[in-house]
């Protein structure tokens, strides 16, 4: 069965129950990718979020349901449950949230990467979910892949090689 790679672009949520599919978020900087996986139902999903919170003025986004972490995580959870995942079996992984840009002498606007990770942790907690895998922070780009067949997560970090992680059997 040939592998079908589905790219998860900024703001997008992609879910799957097809064992030949692999969900991929390329070149994460401060963006955070939230991965969910049910190892029994073999259902998974990924959200690629740009910013932590929907602005107070309720900016409407046409960039997809996961532009903001606080809206993207609940939407991702709902999507994988709809596809047959069980909330009690869900494994969660976070990737990205780096600080790629540092302007010398400037008051760093805000560590968006850190805030994205914190917002994801909070949003998952509000859904009763903890974190099973986390590869976040630092100052280098990452690509994260989630294999639907077995929950294997592969993280490629710029200049540092590839890590293969098992989300299906990861414990908090």
């Amino acid at each position: 069965m040939s592998e079908n790679v589905r790219s998860v672009s900024i703001g997008a949520i992609v879910t799957s129950d097809q064992p030949n599919e692999v969900l991929v978020a390329y070149g994460l900087g401060s963006c955070v990718a939230v991965c969910l996986y049910d190892p029994v139902a073999r259902v998974g999903g990924m959200a690629h979020a740009l910013l932590p919170e929907t602005p107070g003025h309720g900016q409407k986004s046409s960039s997809g349901p996961a532009k903001f972490v606080d809206k993207g995580v609940p939407a991702l959870v709902a999507s994988v449950l709809k596809l047959g995942a069980s909330r009690t079996r869900l494994k969660t992984g976070l990737c990205g949230g780096g600080q790629v840009l540092t302007i010398p002498g400037a008051n760093t606007q805000f560590p968006i990467g850190e805030r994205n990770v914190a917002a994801a942790e909070k949003a998952l907690r509000q859904k009763g979910l903890g974190i099973h895998l986390q590869e976040t922070g630092g100052n280098t780009g990452r690509t994260v892949r989630l294999q639907i067949a077995d929950g294997q997560v592969t993280v490629k970090t710029f200049g540092k090689g590839v890590q293969v992680l098992d989300l299906a059997s990861a414990k908090r």
Binding site: G27, S63, V100, P104
Partner: protein, 198 residues
Amino acid sequence: MNEQSVSWYRGPLSRLVLQVSAGMENAARGLSGMLGRTITTGTLQAKVVRFSELYTDLGHPETGMVGIYLRMEGDLRGQAILILSVQSALDMADLLMEEPPGTSTTLGDLECSALGEVGNLTVAYFLNAMSSLTGKDLRPSPPAVMVNMLGAILNVLATTAGMTGDELLIIETVIQDPQDKLVEARFWVIPDLASEIE
């Protein structure tokens, strides 16, 4: 280009293009003096892109690239970036340090500092020309040099623009030396869409 994307600019679009074009040509002049060789600009392009379309023709988002980034402050706020391949950055560093091409093999602190100066000068010359033409106060931030995955570099642009909208207005040219192509970089100016200039 749709109407919304140029809402920050209240003059005719042709005037804006002329001003930005003059700014970019002035940047090339400044860079020519710094590098001691003729630097030219290619055709100016203005395009509106969504975040998901950012990784257009620059390469695969995992590709290692170099981004020399500055914020623009004052009456016109926005972002400016030079994007170049690692090899082109190494060649540019050699030119700046008056070393034979091929001398630099890694982008360490010294090389990145030199590249930061390229960003400083390029954007300062660009803004000086824009300021002369518009009479506006325009200032660059200090430069930041990123050696990273292309996707992570572009993520910076998307994050900043994403705070106010879902699209980026990118005004682009290619800066290069026509002689031996040792210098080749995309020069992008991305006005904050909330910023306005008359």
